[in-house]
């Protein structure tokens, strides 16, 4: 197991170095003078320009610049935002719980709905239920989620007036963030109605962000289940006279779960991409909206830092999924 872990980590390190290289070159590839871009000024005097060049380190050889950049990263310095003059890591850390809360709710929603739907569809293969699930899953998979979000807003906020249009909680409530998770903080605040308000704000974004993972999970569960149901040991279990619910719930489900878990792990990247759109539509103050805003504000140091941090998170999650997968399934661990 240890060699397996080390091997996985050995692959991740060069990839991460490559990611830092991309984040590093990003600012240097932008059209225009990098000093003017980073200082956020126009028409700077010659002398000041030279001084700024030295300050940002652009006068040194590119290798040295990259070395300094890596060194700063190792010391937790991801740069300073051009617009707010705050450390990028700090801004990221304050916004991250919002994205995390939304993503967790979305994946939970996707699993709670998608898993049973895929299972029942597989067990009742060819039934109208199966056809409905598969058609809905394909539709969900093809969904432009930015439009889906707008439609839900028209229906639930515009026509029915059930849910708010944007934000994380009603402006009526105010309390200091403890965990950064609005659901928990609103409960801790003890203000009546705060929790309900947080839940109401969360419902639509959760559905929108969870739609594609839901579709993928339902499809994957169904096909994994179908494959397992055709195996000999299932026939044996049935022949032994075990009840159908026991055969399906215990024997089949356990083995069908392995590919499904991998798929759930792979959704992290999808969730981040989806968060960019979902957060923009619902003005959700998370990482996705922050990245889009930073691009539009030409806050390139924030974009650079955000890019790196998001890639790092995805890589770590993928590593954890890989390791878990190896833990559950010894066959993976011992190949090669």
């Amino acid at each position: 197991m240890l060699t397996f872990i080390l091997k996985k980590i050995g692959v991740i390190i060069p990839t991460f170095l490559g990611v830092t290289l991309i984040a590093f070159t990003f600012i240097r590839l932008l059209p225009g003078d990098p000093v003017l871009l980073l200082a956020g000024e126009r028409g700077m005097s010659e002398e000041r320009h030279a001084r700024m060049m030295a300050e940002f380190g652009f006068d040194k050889p590119i290798i040295v610049q990259y070395g300094t950049y890596l060194n700063n990263l190792l010391h937790g310095d991801f740069g300073t935002s051009i617009v707010t003059k705050q450390p990028v890591l700090e801004e990221f850390a304050t916004l991250f719980p919002a994205t995390m809360e939304l993503s967790l709710c979305a994946i939970l929603f996707a699993v709670i709905v998608g898993l049973p739907a895929g299972m029942i569809a597989a067990v009742r293969r060819g039934s109208p239920f199966d056809h409905t699930v598969m058609a809905s899953a394909l539709t969900g998979y093809s969904m432009p989620i930015f439009w889906w979000g707008l439609l839900l807003i028209i229906l639930f906020s515009g026509i029915l007036g059930w849910t708010p249009v944007s934000g994380r909680i009603s402006l009526m409530y105010f309390f200091e963030p403890v965990t950064g998770f609005m659901l928990i903080d609103s409960l801790l605040s003890g203000q009546p109605g705060a929790f309900v308000s947080a839940v109401k704000h969360l419902i639509l974004p959760t559905i929108v962000l969870g739609t594609i993972p839901l579709a993928v999970i339902a499809r994957q569960t169904r096909s994994a289940m179908l494959e397992v149901l055709g195996e000999d040991y299932i026939r044996t279990a049935r022949a032994k006279g075990l009840s159908p619910s026991r055969v399906i719930g215990l024997h089949a489900l356990r083995n069908a779960m392995i590919p499904v878990i991998t798929v759930i792990g792979l959704q992290v990247g999808v969730l981040f991409a989806g968060a960019i759109l979902t957060e923009t539509i619902f003005s959700w103050p998370g990482i996705g909206k922050w990245m889009v805003d930073s691009i539009f504000r030409r806050d390139y140091t924030s974009v650079q830092g955000g890019l790196l941090l998001i890639a790092a998170i995805i890589m770590v999650v993928n590593l954890v999924v890989d390791l878990l997968y190896g833990l559950i399934n010894p066959r993976i661990r011992h190949t090669e």
């Binding site: 058609a135 432009p144 930015f146 439609l151 028209i154 991409a273 923009t280």
Partner: protein, 303 residues
């Protein structure tokens, strides 16, 4: 004499190909959804090609006396503007019809660029292995470490927002999938007898790669091409929606949605129809893709 034998073989192969195509078609037709998807897709292609003929109005013409007209079945709507008009009095149906051109164009360009670059890199990696392989695959891992839409956004920020740059960005983001697929397929074929035979005869490397091996790796690539065609349309629309793709007044569906956003609670039709167009097109292509996969993937074929 030798020529005659060769011709005979060629004939046999032609017949074989036809039979193969027939077999493929019968498997494809087993999936009713795939046939519906294909029919719908062909319809979209026809509409896009003859957009000038089908569209009742010019896509960018502003009718000053018809702002935000509802579709014809609602009170206040008329058949002059079947699906209503937008905030500056442009006919939505005509814009949607012309928008089909952009979406199909985006899909075609992205898939051809990503496919050709990805296949070449994948072939090189799978054929030569060793250090070249490691370098190429690490590069692809790096691209895959970013969420695709985010990387595309950042690339567009570097290149400047426009439709062409959005297509380049999406193609770059998509090609690692082709590289991985091609490499895996090539590695599977490398140890087979026909490749060894070709090597022994002394077939040159380039010919071996592109003529001997590549045609046998096509099945997964075709399926991937269909899937990435629809992803390309979705991603381009998303970039357009974020203001980083095609720029107004281009009648691209995502850009139309972005322009319509502020009217969502006043005029549902400006928001609803462009999204429907995206969803139906992507859905049709994905249905087709599922059919292609069932028909081409021998592992799933008879299950």
């Amino acid at each position: 004499m030798a020529d005659a034998v060769y011709d005979q073989q060629l004939d046999a192969r032609e017949g074989g190909r036809l039979a193969l195509l027939k077999e493929f078609w019968s498997y494809f037709c087993e999936n009713r959804g795939a046939v519906i998807g294909l029919a719908f897709f062909i319809a979209i292609v026809i509409v896009a090609v003859f957009a000038d003929f089908f569209a009742p109005h010019l896509p960018n013409h502003q009718y000053r006396d018809a702002f935000l007209k509802p579709p014809f079945w609602q009170h206040g709507g008329s058949l002059t503007f079947p699906l209503g008009t937008d905030a500056v009095g442009r006919d939505i149906l005509s814009r949607l019809i012309h928008g089909a051109r952009y979406s199909l164009f985006i899909g075609c360009v992205v898939v051809s660029v990503a496919l050709s670059v990805g296949v070449i890199l994948g072939l090189i990696a799978g054929f030569f292995r060793g250090r070249v392989d490691t370098v190429i695959m690490r590069l692809m891992d790096i691209i895959l470490a970013f969420p695709s839409l985010l990387l595309a956004l950042v690339l567009v920020a570097i290149l400047g927002p426009s439709l062409i740059n959005a297509m380049i960005a999406i193609a770059i983001v998509q090609q690692p999938h082709y590289v991985r697929l091609t490499r895996a397929a090539v590695m599977g074929e490398m140890n087979k007898d026909y490749v060894t035979a070709a090597r022994v005869i002394g077939v040159r490397k380039l010919r071996l790669m592109f003529v001997t091996i590549l045609p046998n790796c096509m099945a997964p690539l075709i399926v991937q091409a269909a899937l990435s065609f629809s992803t390309a349309i979705l991603d381009a629309a998303a970039l357009g929606f974020l203001g980083m793709g095609a720029q107004p007044p281009t009648p691209e569906w995502g850009t139309m949605l972005a322009e319509a956003r502020e009217f969502i609670l006043r005029a549902w039709w400006v928001v609803t129809f462009p999204g429907c167009a995206i969803l139906l097109t992507v859905l049709a292509i994905n249905m087709m893709g599922d059919g292609l996969r069932d028909a081409l993937d021998p592992k799933l074929k008879r299950s």
